[in-house]
């Protein structure tokens, strides 16, 4: 039984966050190198723009925003699940090696399969997804113990190990490439939202549409799992099966978003944590909030990074890391 006051509070927070996201979207739509004044945004959105305005808004800025928002949401949800599963506030899809798995696959693919640019760019998300998935399976396999099941701490440690090894290998792979390829892969790894076209939205959206309700539906099981394996077994839960399903959901979400945005860490760490301090630890309460915060954070990071450091811009992933790492360290020092 959840207190009505708490539910009211959750509604209020969600409302504020939706407002913040909308405000950021409008603000971000008006910023950029090509001219499109703020006063024209609403009319163009309503279909009264000329060809130029339509092109800038619908083909360049809007898809990027949508992708950023969706990716942030997916990462936040993935982080929430991972933190619940590992009973550790420090879990994050980026830190435990999913990003570097995807990155390694992308670098390998990019260097050794010279394809046509057209088809190639749409193949990249698939490759990244496969890389992330394989890495996650390996991490799961190595942190699984026959006697005691899945050990949360070991999951994270093994993830860190994989992440270190793969990024070491990746650095070297990219150093052997020519200059333009190095620039592209570096941008990819830095988490520079690169898939900015409607097809990439389509690549990301189905995952969210399926996995988001699934995760929310399972939030009660996450609550129980967070109490400890013995309690979960005590209330009649098939712990290993549930853990595997939830882990698969988390990996699917993270892999899907990393595959279109590039390596972005720390969103999945910060968003759930902020949400938990706002509303408490029950998953059905904080997960929707975490999702919104994640989307908003990444949107904000991308908007700032794109516009502050002209003309190159700084990748969203770097902006997030610069904010996220100190936050992570702060968490680490608090027990």
């Amino acid at each position: 039984m959840i207190h009505p006051e708490t539910i009211k509070r959750q509604r209020l927070i969600i409302f504020i966050l939706v407002f913040l996201i909308l405000a950021t979207v409008i603000f971000s739509l008006g910023l950029g190198t090509s001219q499109l004044s703020f006063s024209r945004i609403i009319p163009v959105l309503l279909g009264q723009g000329n060809f130029n305005e339509n092109f800038v808004l619908f083909s360049i800025r809007l898809p990027r925003l949508v992708i950023t928002l969706l990716a942030g949401m997916a990462l936040a949800l993935s982080g929430s699940i991972l933190q619940g599963l590992s009973r550790n506030d420090l879990a994050d899809p980026g830190i435990i090696g999913i990003n570097s798995g995807a990155g390694f696959a992308v670098a390998l693919f990019f260097l050794y399969f010279p394809l046509q640019v057209g088809s190639f760019i749409y193949l990249l998300p698939l490759v990244a997804f496969a890389g992330a998935l394989i890495t996650a399976i390996l991490i799961y396999f190595f942190s699984y113990d026959r006697n005691s099941g899945l050990k949360p701490i070991k999951l994270i440690l093994v993830g860190v190990g994989f992440s270190t090894a793969l990024s070491g290998a990746m650095m070297v792979l990219i150093s052997s490439a020519d200059r333009s390829k190095v620039e592209f892969i570096s941008r990819w790894l830095a988490g520079d939202i690169w898939g900015t076209d409607w097809p990439f939205v389509l690549a990301l959206l189905p995952w969210l549409l399926i996995l988001l309700p699934a995760a929310l539906y399972m939030s009660n099981r996450l609550n129980i799992l967070a109490l400890g394996n013995s309690i979960a077994v005590g209330v009649g839960m098939r712990v290993e099966k549930e853990q595997a399903i939830l882990l698969a959901i988390a990996v699917g979400l993270a892999a899907a978003s990393v595959s279109v945005t590039g390596g972005i860490a720390f969103v999945g760490l910060m968003a759930p944590h902020i949400a938990k301090t706002l509303i408490g630890k029950r998953h059905q309460l904080f997960m929707p909030i975490a999702i919104l915060i994640g989307g908003w954070l990444l949107l904000l990071a991308d908007t700032i990074g794109r516009n502050i450091f002209q003309p190159q811009g700084v990748a969203a992933g770097i902006m997030v890391a610069v904010i996220g790492a100190p936050y992570f360290i702060y968490l680490l020092t608090q027990n």
Partner: protein, 340 residues
């Protein structure tokens, strides 16, 4: 952990044998590394090149390409293995490694910054930059882990190292993307052993030698420190001063290796573990043996990297990372009790 030094696995005599054996392995690996390669070269020619008693293209290949490369492998292997051994002893953390604790990431970020801001900086300036960077990275990780009065569990230090590394790599990437110098930076940070020249070696080797020599003077203190901090205090050691010295040594050794070949992960983790399994926990034995086996390992890894997909080179950094991962997993598995 066992505290009894007398129960050490070896005495001085059998240690001398082990030392001699690993020296032989090192010499053999060195020889192999110089003989095998893309160009056909005979053992006799290698001898001629070493004794400078011959001329010709092959001799030149040996003197200007293979020898510097092999020497670099020896230097880096020894430096990283010893740095890892010191870190493991000092922090009493089985997972300590220059790569995992933020040192390489720090050196990386500093190199990127130096190349971006001072493009005309010479090689020596870049070495200094990577020293400073390694110090910053290590300082961050150790600083963070000392914020907590009770001290951090090994697990948390690894996480702190991972977060600091992610942060510093992001900085390095940001800098190199903004100034469009990704390729130049990656030539430093991922160069591996390709194209190392005598000029580079002449600058780096003194640092490593001084670092290694200093280590061997402090090995007794390190052994005591690795037991327990209270014991070291009880035995009248000035812990702070020793730790500062050791810290500086780690920085110099790691910074020099990063400047020379880039990010090599897991080497400093693996070698000391293997060595301790052979000779026990006395660092007077562990350190010299780590240096020798680190060098031999690096030579063989480079040889593997050059021959695995000949005539193309597989970067040695990737080979070491891939060999190191299973090892890391084994340690995590074995020592699970220590991490909670």
């Amino acid at each position: 952990m066992k505290f009894d030094l007398k129960k050490n696995k070896v005495n001085s005599l059998s240690f001398s044998f082990i030392l001699l054996a690993s020296l032989l392995i090192l010499v053999a690996s060195f020889f192999l590394a110089v003989v095998f390669g893309a160009a056909e070269i005979s053992a006799a020619q290698v001898w001629q090149a070493l004794t400078a008693s011959g001329t010709g293209d092959d001799i030149l290949i040996i003197q200007e390409i293979r020898l510097p490369r092999a020497v670099a492998a020896v230097v880096v292997g020894a430096a990283l293995a010893v740095a890892g051994a010191i870190m493991q002893g000092m922090t009493r953390n089985p997972l300590a490694d220059p790569g995992l604790f933020g040192l390489t990431a720090g050196a990386n970020a500093a190199l990127a910054l130096a190349i971006a801001l001072f493009p005309a900086l010479n090689y020596f300036g870049n070495i200094l930059a990577s020293f400073i960077g390694a110090a910053v990275g290590a300082g961050l990780v150790f600083g963070i882990s000392s914020l907590n009065k009770k001290g951090f569990s090994p697990f948390r230090i690894v996480l702190a190292g991972s977060a600091v590394s992610t942060f510093l790599y992001a900085l390095a990437k940001g800098i190199s993307l903004y100034f469009q110098i990704s390729k130049n930076v990656s030539m430093w940070t991922a160069g591996g052993l390709v194209g190392i020249s005598w000029t580079q070696l002449k600058l780096i080797i003194p640092f490593v030698l001084v670092g290694l020599a200093a280590t061997f003077f402090l090995s007794r203190q390190l052994t005591i420190l690795s037991l327990k901090e209270e014991i070291a205090v009880g035995l009248g050691q000035n812990i702070f001063r020793i730790k500062v010295f050791l810290f500086i040594i780690i920085i110099v050794l790691t910074g020099a290796s990063v400047a020379l070949v880039g990010n090599i992960v897991f080497l400093g983790l693996m070698i000391p573990h293997i060595v301790r399994a052979a000779v026990g926990r006395d660092y007077r034995f562990v350190l010299p043996l780590s240096a020798l086996s680190g060098s031999a390992f690096m030579l063989l890894a480079d040889l593997l990297a050059r021959t695995i997909n000949a005539p193309y080179e597989t970067p040695v950094v990737a080979v070491v990372a891939m060999l190191g991962l299973p090892f890391f997993l084994i340690i995590v598995n074995k020592r699970r009790r220590d991490f909670a």
